[in-house]
Amino acid sequence: MADIDIKDIVKKENIVYKKTSVLTDNVMHYCPGCGHSTTHRIIAEVIEEMGIQDKTIGIAPVGCSVFMYDYIDVDTQEAAHGRAPALATAIKRLLPDRFVFTYQGDGDLAAIGTAETIHACNRGENITMIFINNGIYGMTGGQMAPTSLEGMHTSTTPYGRDPGLMGHPIKMTELVAQLPGTYYVTRQAVHTPNLVRKTKKAIRKAFEYQKLNKGVSFVEVVSNCNSGWKMPPVQAVKWLDENMLPFYPLGDIKVPEK
């Protein structure tokens, strides 16, 4: 063993993975295994690969990803809870040659910010919207989200979500796909390597389409919230597969007409 020098191993030709330069070196505050961190990395990689760091403006929500600006190395605005699409609308209209994206949780995008979401999509704002659906309010400690599944136990539905009392889980992505202002609408996930690759392709498209000026590109990422769901990561991923995906099936919902 003694004759192996670490310097002989750490060499350019041996590199198999490198963190994108658009991610900062800050240690992420996300719980281990949380889909937010994976999705951040994908966005940062897409920005690097497209060479648009100097033209990109991100909008962070209120939710666990409120500190997105600590990790993705682009100019970023932190919005009030639910209002990211309103910020993005103004930024894009005032700086039309920039790439503008919002990043929002389900409480942010599908509850308190429903009006902003629907109307930005309906106006066909030329922006990219990333929607992290983990079926729960992660940041505030695991309360019911508009997307929480029927029967799901959360801190405000301790006996399970009863649609008769608390309403049905909302499929926001199908809803915005109905609007003429959305150009590309898709639902993805990031809990397996294969899905990560697919999500990256989707997010890449969602940024590329901004060049066409054709309206909103909307990418839902069905994600896990281990802390909110009160499950270790492996169990959470299994639960996601068995419960979230049957209700929120993956795939494109609206694709540009050829």
Partner: protein, 358 residues
Amino acid sequence: MEEDFVLMKGNEALAEAAIRAGADGYFGYPITPQSEVMEYLTAAKPWERTGMVVLQAESEVSAINMLYGGAGAGKRVMTSSSSPGISLMQEGISYIAGAELPVVVANVVRGGPGLGTIQPSQSDYFQATKGGGHGDYHLLVLAPSSVQEMADFMPLAFDLAFKYRNPVMILSDGAIGQMMEKVKFQPQRPRMKDEELPGWATTGKTPDRERNIITSLDLDPYRQERFNRKLIEKYQKMKEEEVRFETFQCEDAEYLFVAYGTSSRICQKSVQLAREKGIKAGLFRPITLFPFPEKQVGALADQVKGMLSVEMSAGQMVEDVRLATNGKVPVEHYGRMGGVIPTPDEIVEVLIQKFIGG
């Protein structure tokens, strides 16, 4: 070419002045009595004249957050609304103050509370001058009293907003918004070019600088407190540099009306009527409501026998007059509410009744 006077509503003058101030964007939601602002803008097509963006938002909540986004990108952005709409904007205004963004918000006040009335009122003084939303902050508040000032305060408001990186409110009311007067506009100012945008704005991180972050969040209590202190210093600087006011026949006054906006116009007439009755009355008109001209009002306390704060409200500015005079002189309030506008005569009667007797 020297431009002529034109006859216009206050709301329209505000809108035209915004275009000429080189505004980059207007975002609003209709509400009486200020809907003419957006109606004027959409008819004037400033996007063809200067490239200014005009957008009708889905709500005042959205409109104020569009301002946050636009101002965060370094642009000159504004909105206008009336009382209920301004209430709806308060969370956003607080974020804007917390993120230190320069925006202009015009409130063409109507009576409240609630849906209240569409008639003019001055009942949003507290909300405008004491913060309005959550957290320790202030707006810089300008109170026009004529259509001309609706126009003149627009470029001033943008300049002050950028000087202090702070939201500026133009606090008008339904009477000034709706009435027609002659007005002369300042010449067209150019919009800011991309390279003139402030260095802190989110315009895209170029390799020569760190990323810019627009946020009002800081979870470290000591850093947050330091930020709160920074805001206090900013407000202190406003108190030193930005106090604006007007006096009318104060030199020999024994009794003083203190009034702003529409009320101050009426009080000018009351001064005249009182003097005809042999009462030496004067008028002090604060133009900046925050910072309030406390030193100037305080100095007059040594000269006069009484001050009457005349407001179309249940008594809001009177608290600032009392603070400024600190018990040195009796201060009374007279107000009409619900959209009722006081007459010059009734104000004189109240002055006599409260201070002189007979």
